[in-house]
Structures are given as structure tokens and as C-alpha cells.
């Protein structure tokens, strides 16, 4: 793999992270991360949709009239999301119930539209696939970190396994932090991640 293509995958993990730098796809990242399992399922679904939609739009890019491109993009994306939704309903019904409307909202997830507009409309299919994968995975990393922290400190479990109880922390007076599973805490955690990330990369700071 050439150096330029490799960058497409690695940049979204750091200087072009969809959530902390591009500020895209925030809604889903906050709403589904109270536990690790739905967070991981959501991350995988978004990665699949972004990568495939990027490839399809990139293949079609010369035939799409610019005036109606948003509708064409939405139709392609919603077709992929319907497929993901049906697969989740068939094989992981409990998680699909937990995610409720947020699977459908992948359609309006700004990461998908953002990558289609900014990258797939002007690039060849192979770089588009890599770009989609990179951005999907960059999004996944943040989701997994949030899901991990919120489930561990909010309900004392990991993937449903009662880790804090097995460690015997409750007997010495440890309490779960109920605020962690509440939605506002997700925002504050993302704010802290952004703070940490920007203090390590001074060039990302805003004036």
C-alpha cells in the first residue's frame, strides 16, 4: 500500500478524527455509549455503511448530476442502512431494540454525508474505500473509549460482566457513579477528550 493511501487510514485516528476534530456524527456517539456492547455494534454498523457508501458513490460519481446529488447520496446511504438494520434485527435483536431509532439515524449521520461530499465525489473507488474505513474506525475508537468508561464507572460492568463486584470493591465502600450513564455526562467526556487531544496537538487549537 502506498504512503498516500496509508495516510487515508491513519489520519482519522489522530489529526482528522471525525468526532474530536471534524465534529461530525456527534448525536449517535453520545446516545448509544452508555454500555460497551451497543457502542461497538453502532461503531461497526457506521464503519460498514461509510465504507460501502463511499465505494458506491465513487463508482457513480461521473454519472450523478450535481443538482440532485444529495438525494442520490441519501438513497444509496439509506439502502445500506436498511440492510444493516435488517441484519441487526435478524441476528442481534436485543441490541437492535436498545439502539432503537439510532440505526435509522445513520442515514443522517454527518460522517457519512461529509465523506461522500468531501471525498467520494471526487476520488477513485479504492482510495474512497480506505477513506471510509479510516473514518469509520476513527469514529469507532471514540465510541469504544466512551462506552468503556461509561459502562465501567456507571454500572460497574464490562460487556455485562460485573467486574467491580468480582473485584470486591463494593464491600470496601465503592459506589457506582450514576451520572456516568446519564446522557449529559457523555458530552462532558467528549469535551474532556477534545481538551486532551488538543493540548497534545497545539495546531488544532481554535483562536
Amino acid at each position: 500500500m502506498s504512503k498516500r493511501n496509508w495516510k487515508l487510514i491513519t489520519l482519522p485516528f489522530n489529526k482528522e478524527n471525525p468526532i474530536t476534530v471534524q465534529i461530525l456524527g456527534i448525536c449517535s456517539c453520545l446516545a448509544v455509549t452508555a454500555q460497551l456492547k451497543p457502542a461497538l455494534v453502532m461503531a461497526m454498523s457506521v464503519t460498514v455503511v461509510v465504507a460501502l457508501a463511499n465505494v458506491i458513490i465513487s463508482l457513480l460519481r461521473k454519472t450523478i448530476p450535481p443538482r440532485i446529488r444529495i438525494i442520490v447520496q441519501l438513497v444509496v446511504v439509506s439502502m445500506l442502512v436498511v440492510l444493516v438494520d435488517q441484519v441487526l434485527k435478524a441476528y442481534m435483536y436485543d441490541v437492535s431494540k436498545q439502539l432503537s431509532v439510532f440505526v435509522g439515524l445513520i442515514i443522517t449521520n454527518c460522517i457519512v454525508m461529509g465523506r461522500l461530499e468531501a471525498f467520494a465525489m471526487v476520488q477513485k473507488p479504492w482510495p474512497s474505500l480506505l477513506d471510509g474505513l479510516g473514518n469509520g474506525l476513527g469514529y469507532s475508537v471514540i465510541l469504544i473509549v466512551l462506552g468503556f468508561v461509561r459502562e465501567l464507572f456507571g454500572s460497574g460492568t464490562l460487556w455485562g460482566y460485573p467486574i467491580m463486584e468480582k473485584l470486591g470493591l463494593y464491600e470496601i465502600g465503592y459506589e457506582n457513579n450514576g451520572l456516568m450513564i446519564m446522557p449529559p455526562m457523555a458530552l462532558i467526556l467528549v469535551g474532556l477528550i477534545i481538551w486532551w487531544h488538543r493540548s497534545r496537538n497545539k495546531d488544532l487549537c481554535e483562536q
Binding site: 465534529i23 461530525l24 456524527g25 456527534i26 448525536c27 453520545l30 446516545a31 444529495i70 438525494i71 441519501l74 438513497v75 439509506s78 439502502m79 442502512v81 436498511v82 438494520d85 435488517q86 432503537s100 431509532v101 435509522g104 439515524l105 442515514i107 443522517t108 449521520n109 454527518c110 454525508m113 446519564m182 446522557p183 449529559p184 455526562m185 457523555a186 458530552l187 462532558i188 467528549v190 469535551g191 474532556l192 477534545i194 481538551w195 486532551w196 488538543r198 493540548s199 497545539k202 487549537c205 481554535e206 483562536q207
Partner: protein, 204 residues
């Protein structure tokens, strides 16, 4: 009484931004000044108010399980609900395009002030989720669905204007450089979300 209950509930208790974090992308991107954020808030409310009732009718007469029975009894078994995502987004994209053309024709001043935000509303999660929540919660009639749409829009409007006002004031305060801009906005939204949580369980 039901209408007032749904209205108040969708503004405060189930606020799109503070309770569900929907429409966050434009909320964060466009909330730098009160004036533009108020324009976007009005546009979102308007689009919600049109799309939710249309999608309600679509859901009731075509998509819900057994909805096709009014055509002929033999179709009572048909369940088209797997099509709802595509149908809803198609309606929303078409309505947004139409609203854009109508506003451009009849009110160029409003069109210029909303300008770029209008087409972007098609991909605003708050609009799409208005239709999805309407389907999930199963409102009894089109009046309830419309009131719900109006309430959600007003709730979104209040949230974005509030954060824009706070951000205008924030410009004069000393924030650590790495936290400036987006970082502090996230944290403030979190704190506002906690305040809105006090409305939970509120009933008229």
C-alpha cells in the same frame, strides 16, 4: 389536555438536544451568533412541522403493519415497515427542496438569511428523528403528531438560541487554549443537559 401535555413534554422533557442529542452537528457548527442560530432554529421547526404530519399519513396508510387494508381486505397482511427509512428520508429531502424553492420565490429576504442552512436541514438528525419518534411512539391522530412536531421544533430552537447566547458571552472569558471553541461548548451543553434533566417525570 392531551395536546398540551404532548406539547410541553416535547419541548422540555424530551428536548431533542438536551435529552436525545439530536441535531448536534448543526447545533455545534451554527451556534456562534444568536442571529444565525435563530434563523436555523426557525427553519428546522418549519421543516419538522411539514414533514412529520406527511410522514404520519404515509406511515398510517402505507407503511404500518396492516395499513394497506383500506385498498382491499386481501392486503391486510402486508407489512411494509421495513421501507419506512427510505420513504421518510425521501419525503424529507423532497420537502426541503420544495421549501427552498417556495421560500426563494416568495420571500427572497428570508431565503438570503437562511441561505446555506436550508438544504442542510435534509441531513439534520433532528428532522429525521422527528419522523422516527413519531412512528415509534404511535401517536393516536394527526393532530397529536403535529403538536409533537411543533413542540420538538420549538425545543430545538430554544436550545440553539440559548447556547448561542452563552457562546457570545464566552468570547470575553479566559478559557484554556485547548478547550476554546468546541471543547467548552460540549461541556456547557452537558451542564445544560443536567439542568434540563430536572424536567424528567414532569406531567400536566
Amino acid at each position: 389536555m392531551d395536546y398540551i401535555n404532548i406539547f410541553i413534554k416535547s419541548i422540555f422533557v424530551d428536548n431533542m438536544i438536551f435529552a436525545f442529542f439530536l441535531g448536534m452537528c448543526s447545533y455545534l457548527a451554527v451556534s456562534k451568533t444568536v442571529k444565525t442560530s435563530a434563523g436555523l432554529g426557525i427553519a428546522v421547526t418549519f421543516v419538522l412541522l411539514i414533514t412529520v404530519p406527511i410522514n404520519y399519513l404515509l406511515n398510517k396508510f402505507f407503511l404500518a403493519p396492516g395499513a394497506l387494508a383500506w385498498i382491499s381486505p386481501s392486503l391486510a397482511e402486508v407489512d411494509l415497515s421495513f421501507l419506512s427509512l427510505i420513504m421518510f428520508i425521501a419525503v424529507i429531502a423532497a420537502i426541503v427542496q420544495m421549501v427552498e424553492m417556495v421560500v426563494e420565490k416568495f420571500s427572497p429576504a428570508l431565503y438570503n438569511s437562511l441561505g446555506i442552512f436550508l438544504p442542510l436541514i435534509a441531513v439534520n438528525c433532528a428532522v429525521m428523528s422527528g419522523s422516527l419518534f413519531m412512528q415509534e411512539r404511535g401517536y393516536a391522530n394527526i393532530g397529536e403528531a403535529t403538536v409533537f412536531a411543533l413542540g420538538s421544533g420549538i425545543g430545538w430552537f430554544l436550545a440553539i438560541v440559548a447556547i448561542a447566547a452563552i457562546r457570545e458571552k464566552l468570547r470575553y472569558s479566559h478559557i484554556p487554549p485547548a478547550l476554546r471553541g468546541v471543547g467548552i461548548t460540549f461541556i456547557i451543553t452537558g451542564l445544560m443537559g443536567m439542568a434540563f434533566m430536572s424536567f424528567m417525570g414532569f406531567k400536566l
